[in-house]
Amino acid sequence: MHGFVQNIGRTALNFLAAFGRIALFSVTAVRWIFTPPYYWQQLFRQIIDIGYFSLPVVGLTTLFSGMVLALQSYTGFARFSAEDTVATVVVLSVTRELGPVLAGLMVAGRIGASMAAEIGTMRVTDQIDALDTLSTRPMQYLVAPRLLAGTICLPFLVLVGDVIGVFGGYLVGVYRLGFNPSIYLARTLEYLEVSDVTLGLVKAAVFGFLIALMGCYHGYHSGRGAQGVGRATTNAVVSASILILIANYIVTTMFFGG
């Protein structure tokens, strides 16, 4: 019993300590984003990597989610003769919720992992120390551009994902469920508000920051050897995914009823 309480206490303390370390890490990194010298080449490389090369993954995910969403909501709403709302349900779910969350989770797997693996490898092979000896701040050269690129790219990806997801719903609605194309489109736009899209994009920016933060943090503090890098990679993906789901709720609450 005594040991049990002690364990809970220790876990809570460890959690707080980790939270503090991550907060400090992100404050430091964000400060370097706004301090010269700016490493444009690094930023550009990350933007290509995150923004451009994630397009297929995000596109496929949102396409099929939009398609399945149209089918499922049709099944549900047909039971009380509200089939007409399918287009509206699809567009609101995709822009407010599914677009950002699915894109976030997919990118967390792709980018969170690769950032942690790359920076972790640099840590265990002394490349990060080498940066220091060459008068370059690793936080500024490696971490700052990644955080910035993550925050910029995710909203862009989500916007593209939104359009593709709605298009998926449209395909199913028109070719499978027999909606009239122009009515479906009109319904899609009728109840959509700017704030729905904004909410999705704000979420995306937050998720992008969190993904890059977790990738960089775990890579930067990677344990020694290949095992250390492996653990850093797993931790980056798991923690980014969990943080995305938590942040999703928090951001939604902040916009709720507004």
Binding site: P37, T125, Q127, D129, A130, D132, T133, S135, T136
Partner: protein
């Protein structure tokens, strides 16, 4: 002593959790001297070297460069200090994602607004001096052999003529001939630059070639330091065993002081 030592450590300690790696290091290096640090794997040689340019902050003690304390001086002072050092790492630590010319001129390019052609010229000049073909500058580190990587790392360390050079096992894992070439490059670089050098080495042939002074780390302290010539008559059993590469002796009978180092290499 009449001259101020270039590097002076006193009472330097460093622990990682319960692993007390350095337990009070005292050591001096004179200007333009070549010090070689020896010691068994895991004895803390790399940690000691990383303390010299602030990559690792000691728990206690003092480190002076040209008589000036470097510990506890803040980030800006540390960054200034690092410009006076060049360093090569045990495992190379070349940047995988950059071609050789960008590796070699990394600091120059980021410090001065050096354009690409100038940087390529400087890189070519530096690596050809070290016996590499000029075409190597366009390749990536992973495309080079171990010996070539060590030379590139050496080029990166010496390219902007630092006052103090740190080499962590520059010849380990190399065949004896390439090792001999690297030793000559180190001696050369030192003579041309007038730099003070600190080298970690396991290779006694190499130690004899490059050392003015030798220091042996054992159990977290310097158990012997003296002129390279006197290494054979140190009178310290551990040094005797190490220098002659004997299987039997005090170093082998010892149990690891703390958690055994789980490292594949030294």
């Amino acid at each position: 002593m009449a001259v101020t030592p270039k590097i002076e450590l006193s009472g330097v300690t460093k622990s990682f959790d319960a692993n007390h790696v350095l337990k009070g290091i005292n050591l001096t290096v004179a200007p333009q001297e070549s010090l070689v640090i020896i010691g068994t794997s895991g004895s803390g040689k790399s940690v000691l070297m990383k303390c010299l340019n602030g990559l690792i902050t000691p728990d206690q003690g003092s480190i002076k460069i040209d008589g000036q304390e470097i510990l506890g001086q803040g980030r800006a002072a540390l960054e200034d200090l690092r410009r006076r050092f060049g360093m090569t790492f045990q495992f190379g630590a070349l940047f995988d994602s950059l071609p050789i010319w960008e590796n070699v001129t990394f600091r120059l390019r980021h410090q001065q607004a050096l354009d690409k052609n100038e940087a390529r010229d400087i890189a070519t000049q530096t690596i050809t001096q070290l016996g590499l073909a000029a075409s190597v500058i366009e390749q990536y580190p992973a495309e080079l052999s171990g010996g070539m990587q060590k030379r590139v790392a050496l080029a990166r360390a010496i390219v902007d003529k630092p006052e103090i050079l740190l080499f962590d096992e520059p010849t380990s894992g190399l065949d004896p001939i390439t090792g001999g070439v690297i030793d000559r490059l180190i001696i050369d670089a030192r003579e041309r630059l007038g730099a003070t050098t600190v080298t970690i080495s396991h290779d006694m042939a190499s130690v004899r070639r490059i050392a003015d002074k030798v220091a042996m780390v054992h159990n977290g302290v310097i158990i012997w330091a003296g002129p390279a010539k006197e290494m054979n008559e140190s009178g310290v059993p551990e040094v005797h065993q190490f220098v002659h590469g004997l299987a039997e002796g005090p170093l082998t009978n010892e149990k690891p002081a703390t958690s055994p180092a789980k490292m594949a290499t030294s």
